[in-house]
């Protein structure tokens, strides 16, 4: 009897995100007056990005590379927008020059980046990602805050945006896996 072709397999379920974390980011962006978002998809932040797209209240654009996205955010700032750039922490490694330019020309953006150097990094393939973000931010004296609890998210977003606007500098929030994803 001839072998039957196997039925197409359904896509594997993706990561499960903590709904309270997604809501807190959404609430925080709205409270901070964020009105422009740019992102490169990342497994930790995909839930936030898909929620932004689905809700449709904040214009949200997907870039081709993270440093391109930061430049887009800075362009939007130039015309009065309050942008946020979302990416994996590795993207900060690609973005040193545009971040430096943003500091020099006073065109900041809020940054939300997945991963941190310290908390919950189980996988070897995130080794470079883990290493690169915080040193780049420190080298440029860009403030960054590692979120440690869902309860911090809304306040951190709002307060980070206050610093972006008040000091005209980029500010980064780093999101470890356990804050955004279900175990």
């Amino acid at each position: 009897m001839a072998a039957q072709p196997s039925a197409p397999r359904p896509p594997a379920p993706g990561p499960r995100y903590r709904s309270e974390a997604l809501e807190a980011f959404d609430d925080g962006f709205r409270a901070a007056g964020i009105d422009f978002a740019v992102f490169l998809p990342d497994s930790l932040l995909d839930g936030i990005e898909q929620a932004l797209l689905a809700r449709g209240e904040i214009p949200c654009y997907q870039c081709s590379r993270e440093d391109e996205g930061i430049a887009m955010a800075m362009g939007a700032f130039l015309v009065g927008k309050r942008p946020v750039a979302l990416m994996e922490g590795s993207g900060i490694g690609l973005s040193a020059l545009i971040l430096a330019r943003g500091i020099v020309q006073r065109t900041p953006t809020l940054i939300v980046a997945g991963h941190s150097s310290t908390l919950g990094e189980r996988y070897d393939y995130h080794g470079a990602t883990r290493l690169v973000a915080e040193p780049v931010l420190r080298a440029l004296d860009i403030p960054c805050h590692v979120l440690a609890d869902v309860g911090q998210i809304r306040t951190a977003v709002v307060q980070a945006q206050h610093t972006v606007e008040g000091q005209r500098i980029p500010v980064a929030l780093l999101v470890p896996p356990f804050v955004i994803r279900e175990a």
Binding site: S64, E68, G69, L78, V79, L97, Q105, T107
Partner: protein, 203 residues
């Protein structure tokens, strides 16, 4: 055709359109002929077009121009796909293709376009329809006039020679330093209430 001639044509059409210029010699003719607060000079490569894209997305009612070099665009060509993805109708990307890193050192180092790379082809492959290459001044003027009159996004690749290299006043100061230009630009943008009815007050 050289870069200066094309920039003179652009300056005549500009009328206060926001403009982002890459590093190098193109800055000086624009500064001399058509300075405007809505100008970012000497943007680091490859962030000219992405910055202009962000301005265009944030200000859809206004045409925006990116003035690129071939080397700068080739350092970040993915932005062409992003522009095409969102069909940013108010964005014009003008690329000076002289086949060299003319501002850099001796100016003898060639770009990939001297070895077959086709920037218009890259743009079309990325999904841009309004893409053209112009090799003489009448064609450049006609392309710019269309780009300022018709919806884009536009990619205009101007094949220019290197005869302007020794004519640019490299040591002449630009109207604003890099650390002033962002402040000047944003204040000018926010001061246009007809285009930003709900804009926050300038600090």
């Amino acid at each position: 055709m050289n870069r200066l001639e094309v920039l003179e044509a652009l300056a005549a059409l500009r009328r206060g359109v926001p403009l982002v210029i890459g590093p190098g010699l193109a800055n000086y003719p624009i500064a001399a002929l058509a300075d405007d607060p809505l100008t970012i000079y000497n943007m680091d490569m490859p962030y000219v077009t992405p910055t202009a894209l962000g301005i265009a997305l944030g200000w859809p009612a206004r045409r925006v121009v990116a003035v690129e070099g071939d080397g700068s665009l080739l350092a970040g060509p993915g932005v062409l796909a992003t522009i095409a993805r969102y069909q940013v109708r108010n964005l014009i990307v003008l690329v000076f293709d002289n086949g060299a890193y003319l501002t850099t050192g001796s100016g003898r180092a060639t770009t990939a376009t001297s070895h077959g790379t086709d920037v218009e082809g890259l743009g079309r492959a990325a999904g841009l329809v309004q893409a053209c290459t112009v090799a003489d001044l009448p064609a450049a003027r006609a392309a710019l006039q269309r780009a300022f009159a018709e919806p884009g996004p536009w990619l205009i690749v101007a094949k220019v020679d290197t005869s302007d290299r020794d004519r640019a006043p490299r040591d002449a100061p630009l109207p604003v330093a890099v650390y002033e230009a962002g402040l000047r630009f944003r204040r000018a943008a926010l001061a246009q209430p007809a285009l930003f009815p709900a804009a926050p007050a300038a600090p």
